[in-house]
């Protein structure tokens, strides 16, 4: 690599009015625009799409439907890309989505130890902790310790399966349906589904508990 001689220092004053990083980002955008590589309005539209179209509400709808509709749940676990593509109201997914089911015997947890692979279309952009060293380093070696950082504890005998997202497959955890939700609509159920419950670092909300 030849270009490592240009400036790689890093300072923590991102909150100043115009940080070094911010100036650098602006300069790069100016260069790419002047060279005719990108239309700045297209960059605005990308950001807007991330802000409005994707997010955990998509995954929550899928989970709620799987809790309500046994046939959908079967097809989700068999081929999640195909099953999710039948739902017009959530964002389109690629070919490589896999849903993994939590049961009383087994708890699933998803990580990307090498970078930040995450099911964007289902959950939105990943939170900082998902992309940071503490989670990436420990999730595969000490998943119970990591769960404790989230205030989550599992019965001692529960099997924990950690999915390291090392290729283009993306994993969505299907959490267990909370007790006390008989007869609830999909929409009501979707309200209980948290982002972390679909990563495997949390549980869905409990009906009636303060949120």
């Amino acid at each position: 690599m030849t270009s490592h001689d240009h400036d790689h220092h890093h300072h923590d004053h991102d909150h100043s009015e115009l940080s070094e990083t911010e100036l650098r980002v602006r300069a790069l955008e100016t260069i790419l625009t002047e060279k005719g590589y990108v239309d700045p309005a297209a960059l605005d539209a990308i950001i807007q799409a991330y802000e409005t179209k994707i997010g955990p509400h998509n995954g929550a709808q899928v989970v709620a439907k799987a809790w309500s509709d046994p046939a959908f749940k079967r097809s989700l676990l068999e081929d999640a890309s195909k099953a999710v593509s039948t739902l017009g109201h959530v964002s389109r997914v690629g070919d490589h989505l896999v849903a993994v089911e939590n049961t009383p015997q087994r708890h699933n947890m998803v990580v990307c130890t090498l970078c930040s692979c995450y099911p964007w279309e289902m959950l939105g952009l990943p939170p900082v902790w998902y992309k940071a060293a503490p989670y990436r380093s420990r999730a595969v070696k000490d998943p119970r310790g990591v769960l404790a950082d989230f205030g989550v504890s599992l019965p001692k005998q529960t099997e924990i399966r950690v999915w390291d997202s090392t290729a283009e497959t993306r994993f969505l955890v299907l959490p267990m349906r909370p007790a006390g939700t008989d007869g609830w609509s999909e929409q009501q159920l979707a309200e209980l589904v948290t982002r972390d419950s679909m990563i495997g670092t949390g549980f869905p909300k409990t009906p009636g508990a303060p949120s």
């Binding site: 030849t2 270009s3 490592h4 240009h6 790689h8 220092h9 890093h10 991102d14 990083t21 911010e22 650098r24 980002v25 602006r26 300069a27 790069l28 100016t30 260069i31 790419l32 002047e34 060279k35 590589y37 990108v38 239309d39 297209a42 960059l43 990308i46 799409a49 991330y50 964002s91 997914v93 690629g94 490589h96 990580v111 130890t113 090498l114 970078c115 964007w120 952009l125 939170p127 900082v128 902790w129 940071a132 503490p134 380093s137 595969v140 070696k141 998943p143 119970r144 950082d149 005998q157 924990i160 399966r161 950690v162 390291d164 997202s165 090392t166 290729a167 283009e168 497959t169 993306r170």
Partner: protein, 219 residues
């Protein structure tokens, strides 16, 4: 490469610290960086594996002390300079002074946004039958390429079981080096915690990776 990005199993990074009500972007420039990476990738300046490789190649101290989107920015700058889309003189001047280099798919425009919000397809026709089947015991090879690979260090040399055949996919080790897609079979391989972390490991833990066929050998 045996880089600092390959973090699985490392100690000493401390507790996971979830941030309540975390915003999508912590500063405005983070969104611009994300958008520039997506746009330039879609325009054909680089593929996703090459962009990962450039972030991995950042010096370890820079990698560890930079925020996520700072790493994206640094990797993007390096990549665009190395591939000839941006000249060091452009960066020094803060605007374009050298002529542009044509992009494979042309300028990234507003109409292109919708298509990039759907994930790409990585499945490819298989050049040969799959070597392994679900249930087969396999060893992750003891391999240490100096270039990009998606076989994490913590699994190398260890024995697991093939759980699922995920089809034939673009091989990141080749694609990152712009050496073609070189499609390979991909498998979910499951390891016992004790196989990876020794006899004191939590006996209830299993870890899986998605491993390309060239990463694996029959046991």
């Amino acid at each position: 490469m045996n880089g600092v990005h390959d973090m699985g199993g490392m100690d000493g990074f401390g507790k996971v610290e979830p941030e309540p009500n975390e915003p999508m972007f912590h500063t405005e420039w983070e969104g611009r960086v994300l958008a520039m990476v997506r746009a330039m990738g879609a325009a054909g300046a680089f593929n996703i594996d090459t962009s990962r490789f450039y972030r991995e190649t950042l010096p370890p101290d820079v990698y560890l002390s930079s925020s996520y989107y700072q790493k994206w920015l640094l990797g993007l700058e390096d990549m665009l300079i190395d591939k000839g889309y941006v000249a060091p003189a452009d960066v020094a001047a803060g605007h374009a002074v050298e002529p542009a280099k044509p992009l494979k798919h042309g300028k990234f425009k507003r109409d292109d946004v919708e298509r990039i919000m759907v994930r790409g397809k990585f499945g490819r026709a298989a050049p040969a039958p799959a070597k392994f089947r679900p249930g087969d015991r396999v060893r992750a090879k003891n391999m240490h390429p100096a270039t990009h690979t998606r076989l994490p260090r913590y699994t190398r040399g260890h024995v697991g079981v093939v759980e699922r055949n995920l089809g034939c996919n673009v091989f990141p080790d080749s694609a990152a080096m712009e050496a073609g897609e070189n499609p390979q079979w991909l498998y979910t391989v499951v390891f016992d915690g004790s196989e990876l972390w020794g006899p004191d490991a939590d006996p209830t833990v299993k870890i899986s990776i998605d491993a390309f066929e060239p990463y694996l050998e029959a046991v």
